[in-house]
């Protein structure tokens, strides 16, 4: 163990890992007001990373050289300032109320249900932590696309520009421009390399396995938020514990957390938690959760190029909650789009249609790719990914089962869920990309398909168990 810890600034690394979490929890408290600790910590983890990204971008824009101590002091100062009103109120409330807010108070009988979950967390978490700490950076896109930018920024103390290889060749002498092994990676959004840069600054090293601790903690933060949101729906403790197990046990999620460095799990967390915040707004009328969802939509856009689309879905859903159109309009629109997508996918199975190269070419703006449109034979690959390969255990069987249970006992009212709408929209976006554009080949070789399904996995678990909450809630009729 000692050689592992000797090479880095361990206190700095711990501060880099935990300070953003504290700052994010305070930010979550400021945005959504009083809330269970599980929600503050769960959402706070992502908000903290967003604060780090904004802080580093602002620091560089101000022309300052990166140094961890002043950066951490600034973030710490903002955290203390943001928490002062909360702490004062907390002190006052503590005299008349118990220490932990409602949803975190757990009766000993409920603890019996939590014990298997804690056992699972210990076994799985210990295996994941060991693997992460032992193995040098392994994940391909991490060392090809994401980590190199952080290494260069760490070494130069500033956000050195990255661009495409063409731009690199055409750059005049004395230009400081880097390029990466993947042609377009220089134009990727900056959040992931900035998160890594923050860890490197804290640890004072750019090459160490413990730099990737945020990836290890991310599923835990997602689980905390999931716990808070499902408990807010009055789902019993045992079922909520089962939901957490459903989320944390998924093999692909475990892999992305353990072999750190990819952006997909972060996007899945930001998108999923954003949709859960919207559902909370819809369920309780607490509009400030809408602000949280909008903040997480921004995070989606900063994480990965597809995050622009998924962030837009969150914003669209927030508009729907503000606008409140009749539910039958939404159901009819969603049903129409789903039917058209399904028909298109079935059409793609026809051998003559599958031979078509392009019916239409769609030029997207900015650095977005050009899409070549035609129906593709996606369905067999989707079937493999969802039900045959071992990526998700039985998640994609759990989801329709819970939806059917909701429909059977609550009728169409069970479909009046913004989280479900966002999930269907997210799934529709993926079906469109892989089933109707040239990205089909990325699905057919299974390079990207499952990674993008990871964007939906946390939300799928929430939607499945949220469907059951009205049936299992203690005050529901039997």
């Amino acid at each position: 163990m000692m050689p592992l810890l000797e090479e880095i600034n361990l206190p700095g690394l711990l501060v880099a890992t935990l300070l953003p979490w504290c700052a994010g929890a305070v930010a979550a408290r400021v945005i959504i007001g009083a809330a269970p600790l599980s929600l503050l910590l769960g959402h706070g983890y992502l908000l903290g990373q967003l604060l780090v990204v904004i802080l580093l971008l602002g620091w560089d824009a101000a022309g300052l050289t990166f140094a961890f101590a002043p950066l951490a002091a600034l973030l710490g100062g903002v955290t203390v300032l943001g928490s002062l009103p909360w702490l004062r109120r907390f002190q006052r409330q503590r005299r008349s109320h118990p220490l932990w807010p409602g949803a975190m108070r757990v009766h000993w009988r409920h603890m019996l249900w939590l014990l298997p979950l804690l056992l699972f967390l210990t076994v799985r978490g210990s295996a994941m932590a060991q693997e992460m700490a032992l193995r040098p950076l392994f994940a391909w896109d991490a060392w090809m696309n994401w980590v190199p930018r952080a290494v260069v920024w760490f070494q130069h103390g500033e956000l050195t520009a990255f661009g495409t290889p063409d731009a690199w060749l055409a750059a005049p002498p004395a230009t400081e421009l880097y390029t990466l092994g993947n042609w377009r990676a220089g134009d990727y959004p900056p959040a992931i390399p900035l998160l890594l840069l923050w860890q490197m600054l804290g640890a004072d090293s750019y090459d160490h396995t413990l730099l990737y601790l945020p990836w290890l903690l991310l599923p835990g933060a997602c689980a905390l938020a999931l716990w808070g949101h499902l408990r807010a729906l009055d789902l019993p403790h045992w079922a909520t514990a089962l939901a957490l197990y459903a989320l944390l046990s998924q093999p692909l999620l475990t892999t992305h957390s353990t072999l750190a460095g990819y952006a997909d799990l972060w996007l899945g967390a930001a998108f999923g938690l954003g949709a859960m915040a919207l559902a909370h707004w819809q369920h309780t009328g607490a509009w400030r959760h809408g602000l949280l969802a909008i903040t997480l939509a921004l995070m989606c856009a900063l994480l990965k190029t597809p995050g622009l689309g998924f962030g837009a879905l969150l914003l669209g859903a927030a508009v729907i909650l503000l606008w409140r159109p009749p539910a039958r309009w939404l159901l009819a629109s969603a049903a129409t789009v789903c039917t058209l997508l399904l028909l298109g996918l079935l059409l793609g199975l026809h051998p003559r249609v599958a031979e078509l190269d392009a019916l239409l070419v769609l030029d997207l703006p900015w650095t977005l790719p050009t899409l070549t449109l035609a129906p593709r034979p996606l369905l067999p690959y989707l079937w493999q990914a969802l039900f045959v390969q071992a990526n998700w255990h039985l998640l994609w069987l759990l989801l329709p089962t819970c939806l059917l249970a909701g429909l059977a006992w609550r009728g169409l009212a069970s479909l009046h869920s913004i989280a479900l709408l966002v999930l269907v929209a997210g799934f529709g976006l993926l079906l469109f990309l892989f089933g109707f554009t040239h990205y089909f080949k990325e699905a057919a070789n299974f390079v990207t398909l499952n990674r993008t399904l990871l964007y939906l996995a946390p939300l799928a678990v929430y939607v499945a168990f949220a469907q059951l909450a009205p049936i299992l809630a203690p005050d529901s009729s039997r």
């Binding site: 032992l134 040098p136 090809m144 059951l468």
Partner: protein
């Protein structure tokens, strides 16, 4: 909850029973009474070491302690009808992951013709394979051999048993359990998918579990209607029906993780970061990059062209680029670029042999793609050569840029 347990467990057992009867559907060669055949078991001592430098027997096992020029072959002479035995169980230890494993056989009908089938081995010890998938697995088998090819490992090759089986439910189940619990190491594709089975496995655990759960859920719906169960009981029972098989799948995954961690501990445990790189798959590239980084200044304006004979995402060239960070690298192409795109003062790394690049040490002339540069060779290594461009010279002729 008690009622939910009392409902879900019988329903799951019933579904498992139905799956058991449906097992033949998973295997296309089930028909024609093959399941009736008794296994043909050959112990290690039934074999002779026909290709080996040194061999000995130990109990029922035959050991090849030294291979003969990276090859070892065990041979035996059974007699059975191939069509009745479409699968085999091999117990062979000492196999390296990189070794190639083959089954050879001859039949009484064509005794001069040797057939072979490469076996995709997935673990050390007991493994199942399906020779029945080969179109040549027919006739009366009178000679079988197991061949191992590739560099020898530290352990001797220990053949304990080779058993040919017909298709019965018990053997199918045994084979599935062996395949599902077989170890699969971390691959770079692990970020993209987790198959959960070795190649050519008989069935996917998730698909089987999903089928079983779907049947159990249907049975649960029927039971709920007949027994007039409350909806809360039905939902709780449904969750149990889903999550008990889920738990089994997760235990398989946890087993994989535990073995992977144990291997990582063997490889990297107790080491500092530098030593971990020395133990990693690409240690040679890491060391070469360390050497190169002392020769090229880490100035962001100082450009380095990494030339390699590959296209697309090549592991070697991309990994070398990563280890060379924070050098400013253009990692595309395999030869010189036109004047203007390369400039005096740029560094050029020839990584591996390149047909399109030539250097004359006497004149200091670096040529390729019709481009000519006066260049200094700063380093020569078995993995590549590093040059610094000092002066551009007129192109030798106009030509197509590679």
């Amino acid at each position: 909850m008690k009622k939910a347990c009392l409902t879900s467990i019988p329903v799951l057992l019933l579904a498992a029973g139905l799956l058991w009867t449906m097992l033949p559907l998973l295997y296309p060669d089930w028909a024609e009474g093959k399941q009736a055949a008794e296994p043909q078991v050959l112990l290690g001592t039934d074999f002779s070491p026909v290709v080996a430098a040194e061999a000995r027997s130990e109990g029922d096992a035959l050991l090849i302690t030294r291979m003969q020029t990276d090859a070892a072959v065990f041979r035996a002479n059974p007699r059975f009808d191939a069509s009745r035995y479409p699968q085999l169980r091999l117990h062979l230890q000492g196999l390296r992951p990189e070794s190639r494993l083959f089954l050879f056989w001859r039949t009484a009908e064509l005794p001069t013709r040797q057939r072979s089938l490469e076996l995709d081995h997935y673990r050390d010890g007991t493994q199942w394979f399906a020779p029945g998938h080969s179109e040549f697995w027919r006739g009366t088998v009178v000679e079988v051999a197991i061949g191992v090819f590739g560099e020898a490992g530290t352990e001797p090759l220990r053949l304990r048993e080779l058993a040919f089986h017909g298709v019965t439910r018990e053997r199918m189940a045994a084979r599935m359990i062996a395949e599902w619990s077989s170890f699969q190491p971390w691959l770079h594709s692990a970020m993209n998918l987790h198959r959960g089975i070795p190649p050519a496995a008989v069935a996917h655990p998730n698909a089987v579990a999903a089928l079983g759960v779907a049947i159990a859920l249907l049975l649960l719906v029927i039971a709920a209607a007949v027994l007039r169960l409350s909806r809360r009981t039905v939902v709780a029972a449904g969750l149990l029906v889903l999550f008990l098989p889920w738990l089994v799948l997760d235990l398989l995954w946890q087993g994989q993780l535990n073995t992977r961690v144990a291997l990582s501990r063997d490889q990297f445990g107790g080491l500092d970061q530098q030593t971990k790189h020395q133990r990693d798959l690409d240690s040679a590239l890491f060391n070469y990059a360390q050497e190169l980084r002392t020769l090229v200044p880490a100035d962001p304006q100082q450009r380095l062209f990494l030339l390699h004979d590959s296209r697309g995402h090549n592991y070697q060239r991309l990994r070398l680029q990563f280890h060379l960070l924070p050098l400013n690298i253009y990692n595309y192409g395999s030869t010189l670029l036109p004047v203007g795109e390369m400039r005096p003062g740029d560094y050029v790394l020839q990584f591996g042999a390149l047909e399109g690049l030539h250097y004359d040490p006497a004149s200091g002339l670096l040529t390729g793609n019709n481009q000519r540069w006066q260049a200094l060779m700063l380093s020569q290594h078995e993995l590549g050569r590093l040059f610094r461009l000092t002066r551009e010279l007129p192109p030798v002729a106009t030509g197509q840029r590679r």
